[in-house]
């Protein structure tokens, strides 16, 4: 994930930060998509 410059001593912390940050937005987003997809079969 780190593609900026050489990772410093806190690179492990930054990896954790990246995982938490992405989960923070992806979990509610995927919940929303899942709730939406459940409605679609009624169309067919």
């Amino acid at each position: 994930m780190t593609d900026h410059t050489a990772a410093g001593p806190s690179s492990a912390g930054r990896t954790v930060l990246a995982v938490v940050a992405w989960l923070w937005v992806l979990i509610p987003f995927l919940y929303g998509v899942y709730s939406l997809v459940l409605k679609i079969p009624a169309l067919f």
């Binding site: 900026h4 410059t5 930054r14 940050a21 509610p28 929303g32 939406l36």
Partner: protein, 459 residues
């Protein structure tokens, strides 16, 4: 001290900072403010709980969209100068305060506070939040600007997917009474304040001169560095106004289907679908349109990085016009053609929003792209008036039954898309004589050098 924390200079990324931490910061804000598209759930609750008319309960949303366009246009330059942390924090505070003021208004039986709170204060949060991450994302992903802004603006489309079931659950738990509604708004305000705060805590701007890995180093010669046009100059150039027409008419065409999606489906399939299945199928059609709107933002905007901005808008506008004609001529009772055409039109609608920041960057450079984007969003406000007007006024005035009701409005939409197509063809690269001076280019808005230059000029 507080000012320092929110300043651009406080969020310059340290060595080792991954640019992939920027999209979740942008998504936290856009997924939050995207709740606006789920207003219909709260609208129904307000209508039932407070006994208000449809017109009255539509007011907070309508004002919010107007405020979105106005605040993005007016505050865009300040956002560019103060930086994304300041903008995201203001957006979070305004958006959450909008809910809390509304909760107070419901509890005190003062509905005007809901209009002013959600629509006025919350609407300012929408506008500032919408443009807040755009120029930062483009600077971090200068090699893939369409993909980067596509991720964020997909979040705006996806915000309603999260809010809609959550709002239904809260209204179910608290009840559709004034007390229950006030509690729902209060919980939403607190939840969004927490959720969106990831954005302003995490956002970082790249150090001056930073380039993505593998990208060629920026030329020392300003003439070779590409466009750099100020916002004051950009709005006086035809390129800006041609793009304004492109965005406005592309959005208007999308609203043509979105605005009456449920009714359109019922009218096209009333004769071929059993009455008891029609309501559920129409609701599913609205849901699948939301999915197309959201996915189009990411997929087509990312594709524009490969095929070019002008070419992708040729598809949105040219193919979009043909698809409208296909629905009119072949759509009745033909679910395959109807669905493919309407899903593509909605995906182009969403993609039009997501691709436009990268188009602006191509034309005017990254110099003040956030502020220029803010000005361009007035096209959205105009489309928000134009689209419903064309669809509702014409369809309601028609005596025809079934799909024939939509003939006139769909032909108008086709014509608007054709005009947008021509406007896109007329867009040419900006003449370098309009670029900012080399000194201004070397000291972009908000940088320490720009501050020094500003202070020097005032001495």
């Amino acid at each position: 001290m507080a000012g320092g924390f929110f300043d651009r200079s406080a969020i310059v990324a340290p060595p080792g900072w991954s640019r992939w931490l920027v999209p979740p910061a942008a998504l936290a804000v856009h997924l939050g403010i995207g709740q606006a598209y789920a207003w219909s759930v709260l609208k129904t609750g307000l209508s039932q709980g407070l006994g208000l008319s449809g017109t009255a309960t539509a007011l907070p949303f309508q004002l919010a969209i107007v405020m979105l366009g106005l605040s993005a246009a007016i505050v865009g330059t300040t956002v560019e100068r103060r930086g994304p942390r300041w903008a995201m924090a203001v957006s979070t505070a305004c958006f959450a305060a909008g809910f809390l003021i509304s909760a107070g208004g419901i509890a005190l039986d003062q509905y005007w506070l809901v209009v002013v709170g959600y629509g006025g204060v919350g609407g300012i949060g929408l506008g500032i939040g919408y443009i807040s991450p755009v120029s930062t994302l483009i600077k971090w992903f200068v090699d893939r600007p369409g993909m980067a802004t596509g991720i964020a603006i997909m979040g705006f489309g996806g915000g309603a997917l999260i809010a809609s079931p959550v709002e239904s659950a809260l209204l179910g738990a608290f009840g559709r009474t004034p007390g229950g509604l006030a509690s729902t708004f209060a919980v939403m305000g607190v939840a969004y304040a927490i959720f969106m705060s990831l954005g302003w805590l995490l956002i970082r701007v790249p150090p001056e001169g930073w380039r993505p890995p593998g990208a060629p180093a920026e030329s020392e010669d300003p003439a070779q560095q590409g466009p750099a046009v100020s916002v004051s100059k950009a709005v006086r150039l035809p390129q800006f106004w041609f793009l304004w027409i492109v965005l406005c008419f592309n959005v208007t065409a999308g609203i043509g289907i979105l605005e009456r999606a449920d009714g359109i489906f019922r009218d096209f399939f009333r004769t071929t679908t059993a009455e008891q299945q029609l309501a559920a199928a129409a609701a599913a059609f609205v849901a699948i349109l939301s999915l197309a709107n959201m996915l189009g933002r990411f997929v087509w905007s990312s594709t524009s990085d490969l095929v070019g901005r002008k070419n992708i808008y040729r598809v949105y506008l040219g193919l979009g016009a043909l698809l409208y004609l296909a629905i009119l001529t072949l759509g009745e009772g033909n679910k395959v053609i109807f669905l493919i055409a309407s899903l593509l039109i909605l995906s182009f609608y969403g993609a039009g929003f997501a691709t436009v920041p990268a188009y602006l960057k191509d034309l005017f450079g990254t110099y003040q792209v956030g502020a220029i984007h803010g000005r361009l969003l007035t096209a959205w406000s105009a489309a928000g008036v134009l689209g419903p007007l064309i669809v509702n006024a014409i369809v309601d005035a028609s005596d025809a039954e079934g799909p024939a009701k939509y003939t006139t409005s769909f032909i108008i939409m086709t014509g608007l898309l054709a005009v947008g197509f021509v406007a896109n063809e007329l867009i040419r690269p900006v003449d370098p004589k309009h670029y900012v001076s080399d000194a201004e280019r070397a000291a972009p808005e908000g940088s320490a050098a720009a501050e020094e230059r500003r202070q020097g000029a005032s001495r």
